[in-house]
């Protein structure tokens, strides 16, 4: 994976750093103000999940480009306890981030594609993509 940059998440302050980097990258890719704000919200959700539930982890960004489209991939990885019941956390109303915010269903709505792999005791990897329109 080229053009990949990561931000380690250890303290709440790192969430801001991840948002900043993600916003810079998405601005360069050409995303408008609204999409930049949506991408920033996505990063907040993913990074807060790491900060609150896994303790540490990282959020990585990758600029995507193929012949006819550009986009951004965001991958959040942690080695926390893993998510026991994925279908439950993907349900509306079952919010994460300390009861505040849109949780993973919100992230799914903000992005174009969403993928999650979680193994008990080994951690969780969430990978999302947003395409430029």
């Amino acid at each position: 994976m080229d053009f990949q940059s990561c931000v380690n998440i250890k303290k709440e302050w790192d969430i801001v750093g991840a948002r900043q980097l993600g916003r810079d990258i998405s601005r360069k890719i050409g995303f408008g103000t609204v999409d930049q704000a949506r991408i920033a919200t996505t990063i907040s959700e993913l990074a807060r999940n790491i900060y609150l539930y896994a303790g540490t982890g990282k959020v990585c960004f990758e600029a995507l480009e193929d012949m006819n489209k550009k986009g951004i991939r965001i991958v959040a990885t942690d080695d926390g306890p893993g998510i026991q019941d994925i279908s439950q956390v993907m349900e509306d109303g079952f919010t994460t981030s300390g009861g505040l915010g849109a949780g993973l269903p919100g992230v799914k709505r903000l992005m174009d594609s969403f993928d999650i792999v979680s193994t008990e005791e080994e951690g969780t990897e969430i990978s999302v993509v947003k395409w430029l329109r």
Binding site: T33, V34, A37, T41, D92, A102, R109, L110
Partner: protein, 336 residues
Amino acid sequence: MSTLKLDLENYKELLQEYIKTKDEQALYQAEQFSKHSMQQNISPEEIINVHIQSLQEIYPDMPEYIQSSMNFLLETMISYGLAYQEFQTLREKQLELKSEISVAANMQKTLLSTVKPDLSDIDVGALSVPAKQMNGDYHHFVEDGKGNLGIAVADVIGKGVPAALCMSMIKYSMDSFSGIRTDPSVILGNLNRVVERNVDASMFITMFYGLYNSNDHTFTYSSAGHEPGFYYYKDRDEFEEIDVPGLVLGVSPEVSYKQYEKRVEKGDMIILLTDGVTECRQGDRFIDQEEILHVIKQYSHLPAQGIVDQVYKHFERLQDFQLRDDFTLIILRRNV
């Protein structure tokens, strides 16, 4: 006032007009614009964005701090936008669930349907209205062809789907007993065993079973903790509570129910009901017994079904057209 186009151009024009004229019409159109946008699933942050772009185009020289302030505002709207999208998903789910329950409610209607007996000696009125879509009250008539009419009235603790599911148990169990023995005390004893076996202890059912023998005009009955009914003496023009002891169904595996008998004279009425009738509430005030009996008396010149319908209408209005509990009322009157 033609159909509004949902685009930046349109928003910009409206905005420009409003800034120039401060006209109410532009605000009315702003409202219509936002309603149309909502129909197109447009999120609030997109409205903010259209607003920013319009301002930029109308006022290319607007102060830089305005631009920044609007970007800040946009940031606060993203979460509201997500809530709006979740709302739409939820609304669809809700509709789905509602139609599922309405299918179930229709099934229940077919299932619990009972034919009101048409006997020459006694006049019968009956009405059962659920508070929600599904009914947790049950009533049923059985005729044995030998002049006996069995009348069952039951109420499950609780309302809605769980109560309805429980109610269907009573229905099938009653079906399977029918024709075997019709003594009220035996029927309640049998049902009690079924209920005790099949539902956990937190769920229970109150039931009244009465058997009207139209040959000798006796009314035999037993109650499993059910809301007391009333007996109306025509000659004395007086009501009396039909209150007999008996444990609710489903609490203890072996219960024997006592059976009582009453001779019914010409013009006398038997009034059976569930607590949805007696515990009608008007605001915070409970309706008292007197009021129910008063309303019944008021319409007592009507046939039994007419009385029942009028009593329902009376209390429906009192409760602001929103029943708090399932409502079941049965009236029997000896004619001949």
